[in-house]
């Protein structure tokens, strides 16, 4: 193949406006696909229980329940669950009733 000096510079650096538009269109479509489940979940998180089961479905909550997020943090010992995976609580758990219950099960299993 001969080296064509006057080849048009269709380098990846300079794409035409049309190409750019296509790239943005594809990116935006993918963004919609990737974000839709998350957005749907955020809307769910802001509904109260009766609205969750409402039929026909309310896409936007009639009542924005921001308190759900507070409840998520306070209804369960969230902080303790958060540090459990790090292993800080392992030593405490050993004295815990749940654990001795497990040990009891193991003992039963061995017999």
């Amino acid at each position: 193949m001969s080296l064509v000096r006057s080849a048009p510079m269709t380098s990846h650096r300079k794409s035409s406006g049309f190409q750019k538009g296509l790239i943005y269109l594809a990116l935006l479509l993918c963004t919609l696909l990737f974000l839709a489940p998350l957005l749907g979940n955020v809307l769910l998180a802001l509904k109260n229980i009766s609205e969750l089961a409402a039929f026909p479905v309310h896409i936007l909550p009639a009542h924005w329940e921001w308190g759900n997020f507070l409840q998520a943090l306070t209804l369960i010992p969230f902080g303790q669950y958060l540090i459990n995976p790090i292993g800080i609580n392992d030593l405490q758990l050993r004295k815990d009733d749940r654990h001795s219950h497990l040990c009891h099960l193991c003992a039963v299993a061995n017999h």
Partner: protein
């Protein structure tokens, strides 16, 4: 460094291959105590948390242990014989292969496609990259429950949107379409692969691409003559890892299954509620362990899966010399084999 090897460092899979070829040299190649000292955290973890449990499972697979009673005995190979007479095991294995066959190529191609898009000069590239990557850092249990809400027949967002176009409500999570939801869930997480492809793309020397375009190569020619061969080690890595993950899929089918107590996402899950299309191999294994308490049979199934994963991995690694290009080791490989 005090790691002494006979060979100069080569890419990981090549090291793996040569280690396979000359097995006897394996341990003695690393003579240094320092090496073992520094590697000891991993070695300890590997022995205590991987090797010993695996051997335990192997021993278990020759027994009829039910997980609780002491009344078990050695049954030899009968658990393994049972697998071949268990239509559910064979069905779930085929279904798992189908799942891997669909999701692995699609998520690799999709990840590569997104990476190519993001490798262009576009605005807000960091934002797009984050958006595509976010699904793969959400815990899998959370994503599965999210999809369960999303695809719910009565309260799901998807059917609500479809209703807007006057399309009748579909029971997505029940049988003919349950498998489709599982596949979509897998594809939603392809951003993890995208990031690795993106890193690979950015490692391709710009001079090569520029030289090619000066020579008159169009975008497609540049892609298949430069980008794809340069990415082939990344593709190999992704292929092996994705196949292993796909074959081990367990949580998604379990959580997408209709709950035992009513209500979307509520209640506990039971393998018997997993839809026929979602009944993957690991679900069958889970059912053996935790529903039927056949620990021995479950362990035998797990070892068969391990053998299958090992076989696939070895086949892919063997095939890689035909399609994976390394820039550094072409001459070294010739030298090593000579």
């Amino acid at each position: 460094m005090s790691i002494s090897t006979h060979e100069p460092p080569v890419a990981f899979h090549d090291a793996g291959l040569s280690a396979l070829r000359k097995r006897r040299g394996g341990w003695t190649r690393y003579k240094s105590r320092t090496f073992y000292l520094f590697a000891s955290p991993w070695i300890l973890g590997f022995v205590l948390l991987t090797t010993i449990p695996m051997i335990y499972a192997l021993l278990l697979s020759f027994t009829n242990f039910d997980g609780l009673s002491g009344n078990w005995h050695w049954v030899g190979l009968s658990n393994y014989r049972q697998i071949f007479q268990d239509p559910d095991a064979l069905y779930s294995l085929l279904q798992t292969f189908l799942y891997a066959l669909i999701t692995v190529p699609l998520s690799l191609a999709g990840g590569l496609g997104l990476a190519l898009l993001l490798n262009q000069r576009v605005r807000a590239v960091g934002l797009f990259r984050t958006i595509f990557y976010v699904p793969s850092i959400i815990p899998i249990a959370a994503t599965a429950l999210m999809f369960k809400f999303l695809f719910d027949r009565d309260t799901g967002l998807l059917n609500t949107v479809l209703d807007f176009f006057h399309i009748q409500a579909v029971s997505w999570l029940l049988d003919p379409t349950a498998f489709l939801v599982l596949v979509i869930l897998a594809l939603w997480g392809l951003g993890g692969g995208m990031v690795i492809f993106l890193a690979g793309l950015q490692g391709i020397p710009q001079e090569l691409l520029e030289a090619a375009s000066i020579d008159g190569a169009n975008a497609w020619q540049r892609f298949q003559a430069i980008t794809l061969p340069s990415l082939s080690p990344v593709i190999l890595f992704q292929l092996v890892i994705s196949i292993i993950y796909a074959l081990q899929t367990l949580v998604q089918p379990l959580l997408l299954a209709p709950s035992v107590s009513t209500g979307a996402g509520g209640g506990f899950t039971d393998p018997s509620h997993v839809q026929h299309g979602d009944y993957l191999y690991m679900v069958h294994v889970y059912a053996q362990f935790f529903t039927f308490q056949s620990y021995g049979y479950g362990a035998a199934l797990l070892w068969i899966l391990f053998a299958i994963v090992l076989l696939f991995t070895l086949l892919i690694l063997r095939s890689s010399s035909f399609w994976v290009h390394y820039e550094v080791d072409q001459n070294q490989r010739k030298g090593a084999s000579a």
